[in-house]
């Protein structure tokens, strides 16, 4: 636990000092909304279209985070330093996933209000905020798990910016499906029966399975 908090503090401090990922991701997401506005030629969106735009933007903004996640460790000896320490390697994975989860939450604090302001037709009521946060949190967890695993693979390859998203995107399709379908009723006009529990369950199950799997297979990635 001390290892984890030390690693996580290191990640967050690095991000606070360099501001390498989160501001770029936030700016990217707002720009993407503008692009969607012109690409779709719509002033306001709702329902499944709104959910899709939100999820796709989150996914692609997250890809920027995936690509940056391990670069400092690879280029400036962070891996070597970590490997010299007599600690379990799995902690690095957990710290990276938690760090990316934090980035995504910060990103959404900027991105969701921007989306509501710029594109969303129906108004979000206060009661809908709870389910929205729940779905996004589960989606962030799934994304952070996959990105922390695939990022570690991609950073050691040539063409790392290509390989990472290429592998991560198909793996994240279930998250996209569940998040988009789950958000759809919240972003629709008129009354609705809340978020179907099915999508929350699928997201939670996905997070659980890939969380355990990633912990199990992460060690061999750090052997040299």
């Amino acid at each position: 636990m001390r290892v984890l908090s030390a690693l996580l503090r290191k990640e967050l401090r690095l991000e606070l000092r360099t501001l390498e990922s989160v501001p770029g991701m936030a700016l990217f997401s707002v720009t993407t909304f503008v692009v969607f506005h012109f690409g779709l030629a719509q002033a306001q969106v709702e329902g499944d279209l709104a959910a899709g735009i939100l999820v796709v933007t989150l996914l692609f903004a997250g890809m920027l985070g995936l690509n940056r996640l391990y670069v400092a460790d690879e280029e400036q000896g962070g891996f070597d330093g970590f490997l010299l320490a007599p600690v379990d390697r799995t902690w690095l994975f957990i710290a990276k996933a938690l760090a990316l989860f934090t980035y995504l939450v910060v990103l959404e604090i900027v991105m969701v209000p921007a989306f509501v302001l710029l594109l969303l037709g129906p108004t979000l009521s206060l009661g809908e905020l709870g389910p929205l946060v729940g779905i996004l949190a589960l989606a962030d967890a799934g994304f952070a798990i996959i990105a922390a695993l695939i990022g570690a693979i991609a950073v050691r390859t040539r063409a790392r910016d290509l390989i990472g998203p290429l592998i991560a995107l198909p793996l994240l399709v279930p998250v996209v499906i569940a998040t988009a379908r789950g958000l759809e009723p919240l972003l629709s006009e008129g009354a609705h029966g809340g978020v179907p529990g099915k999508w929350l369950a699928i997201l939670a199950l996905y997070d659980l399975v890939f969380g355990l799997l990633a912990v199990a297979v992460f060690d061999p990635l750090l052997e040299d």
Binding site: I153, T157, R158, P170, V173, P174, I202, P220
Partner: protein
């Protein structure tokens, strides 16, 4: 030395494949609804089943590689995924043909099995580029195994998630219990033949890879050349 038993296996495969096609052509009854077009079912479905099982098989071999760190297992995992990828291309093509003849379109999005298969295919299509992008052989093998295990676990999850979001219109041949006996028999023979074909191709590729590795190591010994091989490749070498 590397091809032991391959001749018998090849003959058995040819007999099985020809026999399966003969059953499809002459024995299996015409589908009342779709007629002759339905016959592609005996090629498409066994191919899809074998390809998916091959992906999962590759993941299991990769687990073995990470446990033993023997490059042989990496080679096996690579070959299993490689052959499955080739079959997967065949599945997508035959699936598109079947969709065109029975639904009139080349592609349908509200078809869970088809869409999941495409996603799985796209994921595995990155396997070779990823291997290719890692120069160090030992690291390439390790990373490929991590990929193969993750992707192998992804296969059932993907099918579940895509199915959850739509109401299927696929001709659900299984489970409804309306497939008549001769059709079942033909299907099972086709499935067996396809599995045998997969296994034969798998054995052939492994034999080739092993022989090629042995050849290049002998050549290096004879020429007294201990410079490492500079050629980059996605295929594992022993």
């Amino acid at each position: 030395m590397y091809g032991k038993g391959l001749r018998g296996l090849s003959v058995a495969t040819i007999v099985a494949v020809v026999g399966a096609f003969a059953l499809v052509a002459f024995y299996a009854p015409m589908d009342a609804d779709q007629g002759f077009r339905q016959k592609i079912f005996y090629l498409h479905v066994p191919m899809a089943i074998v390809a998916l099982l091959g992906f999962i098989f590759g993941g299991l071999l990769a687990i073995q590689h990470l446990r033993t760190r023997d490059p042989k297992w990496d080679l096996r995992s690579y070959v299993a995924i490689h052959i499955s990828l080739i079959l997967a291309v065949g599945v997508l093509i035959t699936g598109a043909i079947w969709a065109k003849t029975s639904w009139g379109v080349w592609w349908v999005w509200d078809e869970a099995t088809l869409v999941s298969f495409l996603i799985v295919f796209l994921l595995y299509a990155t396997y070779t580029p990823m291997r290719f992008a890692i120069e160090d052989r030992e690291r390439q093998a390790r990373y490929a195994s991590v990929f193969a295990i993750t992707a192998g676990a992804f296969v059932p999850i993907c099918f579940g998630a895509v199915r959850a979001q739509q109401t299927p219109i696929h001709p659900h041949t299984f489970g409804s219990g309306d497939l008549p006996g001769p059709m079942w028999l033909t299907f099972l023979v086709s499935l067996g033949a396809m599995a045998l074909l997969y296994y034969t191709l798998y054995r052939f590729e492994i034999a080739t890879k092993l022989a090629r590795g042995r050849l290049s190591s002998l050549r290096r010994q004879l020429l007294d050349d201990d410079a490492p091989v500079l050629r980059r490749s996605a295929a594992p070498t022993l």
